[in-house]
Amino acid sequence: MKTLIKTLFLFAFCFALVSCEDDPVQPNENNYVNVGTPKMLSIGNMLVIYDGENVSQYSTVTNQPVFVKKLLDIFYEKEVALKKLDDIHFAVATESSTAIFEIDGNNVNLIDHSFFSICNNFAAAQNAFARVHHSAFSNSNYCPETNPDVEIFERDAQWNLTQVATIIEAENAGIAFYGDTLFICKNGVSAYALDALLQPQFITNIAGIYAEEITIKNNLLLVQTPEGLSQIRFKNKQFKLLSEI
């Protein structure tokens, strides 16, 4: 009898240990959540904030941001990106759509909301990000990043897009425009001039730099790499690596 009690006790103890050690979770309605990581964007006198579920406009003319209105509901998508296109346009890109807003004084108007309009294979909002990014700088064209090519689109006043060129085997990473010069990650960082027909003409490249993201300030490229930050000057159609942090 003693042995049986001992065995039962030992079994119960082991069961309790296992139960404490693990916290098995099965997906169900109660423990499944799907909100995105909060994002924000400062543009003009406003702040655009994605709080994980909604994108809203806040005024920043006072000391603290003041809620103005909700701009967009985001349903069940985690990858959300906010991107300034120019002084009066910004984009909200998700895994399945891109919404473009225009600022008119203190008002914000939705001018385009495309679901899978260009690429039906968005792997992440980063791609949508890149595709809207380019209209910011060229204003007449539109350049989505697909995997792994970079496609250049011309857009009309209604934001209708027509594909006009492709740069193949780009590395699906950093991409940016400065004037009519396109910088992409391909064998390092490459520069292309867009001609009158928006056809990319290769200018030069700087090898050995994998650009996860490219930010441009005048002719200075801030290039985010897996190792840190590289600064590259683009002058007289030549790259010069200035520093790496």
Binding site: D23, V25, P27, N31, Y32, V33, N34, V35, G36, T37, P38, K39, M40, L41, S42, L47, I49, D51, G52, E53, T60, N63, Q64, P65, K78, E213, T215, K217, L220, L222, Q224, G228, L229, Q231, R233, L242, S243, I245
Partner: protein, 130 residues
């Protein structure tokens, strides 16, 4: 996770730290602000792009994005919206709107009972995939 008290006291300007996995760079004049997600913001003096100098690191645990507005740094810190004033090489918290954002959801979208049943005083600042 971090206690609400710790989160509220967490904004500090620390000595420069190694720039690892920075995700977003914003510039203001000759200063570069680089966000290291869920950790904080590196501040870099870029007067000489050939020799940038790391000024320091603004500790912002739980930071998921930020924006610049004049001397202000607005940031999403976990569930809060905060504003930090960057002036004369110092960073001071100006305001905090608590519980402004949705809570950071786990990468697999499944919230375990440990997280669900935690004390109200604990705030999620980061998820680490095992």
């Amino acid at each position: 996770m971090m206690s609400r008290n710790e989160l509220n006291q967490s904004i500090k300007f620390l000595p420069a730290q190694q720039l690892i996995n920075a995700e977003k760079y914003l510039t203001k004049g000759d200063t570069i602000f680089a966000m290291q997600p869920f950790e904080g913001i590196h501040v870099i003096d870029n007067q000489n792009p050939e020799m940038p100098v790391q000024l320091g690191f603004i500790n912002v645990p739980g930071v998921s994005d930020f924006a610049l507005k004049g001397t202000k740094i607005l940031a999403n810190q976990s569930v809060d919206l905060i504003e930090i004033e960057w002036k004369n090489s110092s960073a001071n918290l100006k305001f905090r709107k608590e519980n402004f954002n949705k809570e950071l959801s786990p990468p697999d979208n499944i919230v375990s009972s440990i997280v669900k049943n935690r004390p109200d005083s604990l705030v999620i600042v980061k998820w680490i995939e095992k």
